[in-house]
């Protein structure tokens, strides 16, 4: 298995009563409440935690990106990826991922990612995402063309990495006179591409059609089985048999020395789910055209406030294992069930959120890396859950068809 550490990188240092008063803590929540001193401290604490995660034995560090919202401080995933490329030695740097549609120049992204791959000596996993609705609004990228831009930007980046330059790109959404960057990734044919998601059926199908591993973000176990069924059927349709190496799962999982402490800290996972301050506005989360025609009716009802988003309360989430908290021993038993039921070879443990202190975050990372992950790795081995690295699987369907078996760092 490939076991990763993740945190949403919360920028929790803002007056929560102001968030409550405003009603939402995204997009239009005024950045006059941004605390520069605290942000500087928090960025540095996160870096220290990631370096420590490597020392404690995690296989990968998963990073993501959001805009205009305190629930995630990472406004550019490639910035932290670059830092970790230089500051770490062994862990995979797993970006889940770069939001392609909000970029007006995908070749620039291809360059940045190539640099990260070279500096990290071939440790980059380059996931791509569509970005949420708030990302579209915050960057003024047209949400109605979000998927089209995602597809085209992806094709352009892969071509940039794999086809000799110079070439010209005259696409529907991107036009580039010259594509010929003087930097290419170390890994060949190109860095692995993993696709995370949760909402959209179209993305699951797209990932399977490309032979990319799909990482389920925090969905209930029964949902996972439906997702894998769709992925497997699509894979069969395009000519390959999907295996554990195509399956990933992210779950919120906080560990502490005592159950009491772990449960108390795990309550912070509710911080970004609206229990404390409210997270986002349903309209901003899905601007018009962002989702397919299937979403029109429910969204139309959201638009007039007739439907509300509802999250199960903390206790219920804990009970249903939508999130996990406890001592290492307790957590291992719950993760065993999850791994047995969902069979991922890539598992991301979202350890810390909200106002969990730096001290407790470090403690959680140590227990995850030194106690939980070794046990889960054993369970995975027994179940034959070989990660893409262990299975040495081809980076994409295109390369499977060419008979290439692997993405190898050209060292």
């Amino acid at each position: 298995m490939h076991l990763m550490y993740f945190t949403e990188q919360p920028m929790s240092a803002y007056p929560q009563e102001e968030g409550e008063k405003f009603g939402y803590t995204a997009l239009l929540f005024p950045n006059t409440f941004f605390d520069r001193q605290a942000a500087s401290r928090l960025y540095n604490e996160r870096l220290e935690e990631y370096v420590y995660a490597e020392e404690c034995g995690v296989d990968g560090i998963m990073l993501n990106e959001h805009h205009n919202a305190p629930f995630c401080m990472q406004a550019k995933v490639n910035v932290f990826a670059s830092l970790l490329a230089g500051m770490t030695k062994r862990v995979k740097i797993v970006l889940l991922g770069n939001p392609l549609p909000i970029s007006d120049n995908p070749v620039r992204l291809a360059e940045e990612l190539a640099m990260i791959d070279l500096i990290s000596k071939g440790r980059l996993v380059s996931g791509f995402v569509r970005g949420g609705g708030v990302e579209s609004l915050a960057t003024n990228a047209n949400p109605a063309f979000n998927r089209e831009r995602f597809n085209e930007a992806h094709d352009l980046i892969i071509k940039t990495w794999t086809q000799p330059g110079p070439f010209r790109w005259e696409g529907e959404h991107y036009q580039l006179r010259v594509v010929n960057p003087w930097v290419l990734p170390l890994q060949q044919p190109h860095p692995r591409v993993w696709i995370p998601g949760v909402v959209s059926r179209e993305t699951i199908i797209w990932a399977a059609e490309h032979g990319y591993p799909y990482i389920i973000l925090n969905a209930p176990i029964q949902e996972c089985q439906k997702i894998w069924q769709l992925y497997d059927e699509t894979a069969a349709g395009v000519g390959f048999t999907a295996g554990p190496e195509h399956r990933g799962y992210l779950i919120r999982c906080h560990v502490a020395e005592t159950e009491e402490k772990a449960v108390e800290n795990a309550k912070q996972f509710m911080w970004m789910q609206g229990e404390f301050t409210g997270l986002t506005h349903p309209l901003w989360a899905s601007p018009a055209g962002y989702l397919g025609a299937w979403a029109r009716k429910p969204l139309a009802e959201f638009r007039v406030g007739r439907r509300k988003q509802s999250m199960p309360p903390f206790e219920k989430q804990l009970q249903s294992m939508a999130l996990i908290a406890g001592t290492p021993k307790q957590v291992i038993e719950k993760l065993r069930v999850i791994v047995e039921e969902t069979r991922p070879s890539i598992l991301a443990l979202w350890g810390n959120d909200g106002n969990v202190s730096h001290h407790d975050s470090m403690s959680c990372i140590r227990l995850l890396g030194q106690e939980v992950m070794p046990a889960i790795r054993e369970i995975g081995d027994k179940l034959g859950l070989n990660s893409p690295f262990e299975a040495n699987s081809a980076v994409s369907l295109a390369h499977m068809q060419k008979g290439e078996s692997t993405a190898v760092a050209a060292l």
Binding site: A144, G289, A300
Partner: protein, 259 residues
């Protein structure tokens, strides 16, 4: 219930365009707002006492087919030129409401010789000198529309206090199409102050003094750019002039077109 108007369908650029029509006499094309055509309004009926009125649903709006290739409001204006040519309606007068006013102004910059007269009612298309055109994409549809009324009871009378799901879905479809062609820059053509100077068409600009969607200074800017324009402003009236002040608007339009 029998009604005076009829519904038609025509095809332009491979897509169906639905329209409502009624009346007799010289043709007048009415171009609806970004929220779609709410139906045969009393304003249309009053106008149809004097003219043959056509109210198409824009391509991609209401029941009209979505042109997937369309990228901006100028593309939409070209389709309407095409439609007018096919239906042999030119020369004619155009009444553009809000977003429809922007389309009408684009059409005028393309071929003003085919236009008898132009009426722009609380029209988008011109960048305000002060303030901004209210951004619907940050608001719930109902809040956006309500902001367009000086007296919210007019909105309830038009759409009902709790609009039906079909109406909500229609708004959603219209908002998607608006997103596709008017996302950025939002609701204006930066070239208008220059291009509109070429338009000889006599133009009537009508604005509600309480318009909270398209600032009145957009009307003033239109007047500066258009060589033959006059501006009428109405008291106690918001953005939806044709609903809030149907009688006054009809009177202004009929008088202006009859000059």
């Amino acid at each position: 219930m029998a009604h005076t108007w009829s519904e038609g369908v025509t095809e332009v650029a491979g897509g169906k365009i639905h329209f409502l029509t009624s009346g007799a006499g010289a043709p007048v094309l009415v171009l609806h707002r970004d929220v779609g055509n709410p139906g045969w309004l009393p304003f249309y009926e009053q106008l149809a006492q004097h003219y043959t009125v056509y109210v198409p649903s824009h391509p991609g709006f209401d029941k009209s087919d979505r042109p997937e290739w369309m990228r901006n409001v100028r593309d939409l204006a070209v389709l309407y030129q095409w439609l007018l040519k096919d239906m042999k309606l030119r020369p004619l007068s155009i009444v553009g409401l809000g977003f429809g006013g922007w389309i009408a102004a684009e059409m005028a910059t393309m071929d003003h010789h085919q236009l008898r007269k132009l009426v722009l009612v609380s029209a988008m298309g011109m960048k305000p000198t002060r303030g901004e055109i209210l951004d619907q994409f940050l608001l719930y549809t109902t809040d956006y529309i309500r902001t367009g009324f000086h007296d919210p009871s007019h909105m309830d009378a038009l759409y009902g206090k709790e609009p039906e799901v079909d109406q909500l879905v229609a708004w959603e479809i219209n908002r998607e199409m608006t997103t596709r062609i008017a996302w950025k820059p939002y609701m204006f053509n930066a070239a208008f102050p220059t291009l509109l100077k070429s338009v000889d068409t006599p133009t009537l600009l009508v604005w509600g003094k309480e318009d909270r969607i398209t600032p009145v200074n957009c009307g003033e800017r239109y007047m500066q750019a258009l060589p033959h324009a006059e501006l009428a402003t109405l008291n106690a009236c918001g953005h939806f002039v044709e609903v809030e002040k149907a009688n006054e608007l009809t009177q202004l339009v009929v008088e202006f077109l009859g000059k």
